[in-house]
Symmetry: C2
Subunit: 195 residues, 2 copies
């Protein structure tokens, strides 16, 4: 069945928007976020400046939209990992592993001018995403504790903070292998104590 | 034996310096670091402005000296805890517990204007203290692994990062009891795996 005209327009707009976000992030990484101009972005995307301004008012708005898309993508990825695993303990492990690897990979951003720029201004946005993440992990911890896959002598909210805090070290680790070792150690803290 | 005149002078200077640091920190907490003046500090300490200027050139220098003294005090406290415990496993536990409680207590500072002011400008100083701390913990981890009190399948440097990262959650916990539970969980990750 052919797409309706409206759907085609919608899909086109999304494609252009995505291209604007990608090009802007690339330029910001290359030149630093404060040096990028709307003209450079329009040129790189291959659209006119007037068209670009129909999508976004300025470079800052584009960078924040890019960041929001990145974070939403990470959360979607974690949800997907969660939903394709069955046993509670295995689910928790799989999601924490994915989270640790994402944290490790996005390390690059945090140390750049772009990272500093985004983090100084998107406090609310990040706090919201972090809340969402915390909520997701806490549900998995509670579920795992219910079947004996996680310790139940520590409140799930605290066990969740422990997990996220411990795995934050993935940012500064040199390799995926080191990230997996960090995960092993962190999960050993989560398991029921064997006295 | 009576003190030498020079020693008496030295002790007096140290006392005045400490009083300046304490008064300035109290004023900065109360009014915000940017509103404190040299005159207010001199008045609170009970010395003349001219005398104050013999010790420090401005408020910022005083606040940084205060911060440096705080950090040095925390490191000295950890060293003392380390040196009064014998068995490697117990030493590591005692030092990590003290670190977690210090982290929990200084939480107040981080969230104030004073905290923000100090952290924006003393990056090097903090990095140096953190290196010192990392080094101390890594020695304890290595020692504990050597006698079977800590796992030896993870490089001590990585186990150290795990510990410090996990215990950073102490900052956001509501009570000392929660901090001790965090410590329990973190230490469970450090112990040799029991298969």
């Amino acid at each position: 069945m052919p797409k309706l005209w409206n759907e085609t327009i919608e899909a086109h707009r999304r494609d252009v928007r995505d291209a604007i976000l990608d090009s802007t992030a690339a330029l910001a990484t290359e030149k630093g976020p404060l040096s990028v101009t709307m003209s450079q972005i329009a040129e790189k995307v291959g659209i006119g400046r007037a068209t670009l301004y129909k999508y976004f008012p300025d470079v800052e708005a584009i960078l924040h939209a890019w960041h929001a898309r990145e974070i939403a993508g990470h959360l979607a990825q974690l949800t997907e990992v969660r939903d394709r695993t069955d046993r509670p303990g295995a689910r928790l492990e799989a999601v924490l592993e994915a989270y640790a690897l994402i944290t490790h990979e996005s390390h690059g951003h945090h140390d750049t001018d772009l990272g500093a720029f985004l983090h100084q201004d998107s406090g609310n946005h990040l706090a919201h995403a972090h809340q969402h993440l915390h909520h997701m992990i806490q549900e998995l911890v509670t579920e795992a504790a219910g079947v004996g896959d996680a310790r139940d002598d520590i409140p799930p909210a605290e066990l969740t903070r422990y997990c996220l805090s411990a795995l934050a070290a993935a940012r500064t680790l040199p390799s995926d292998a080191a990230v997996r070792r960090l995960l092993t150690v962190t999960l050993a803290g989560v398991r029921p104590p064997q006295n």
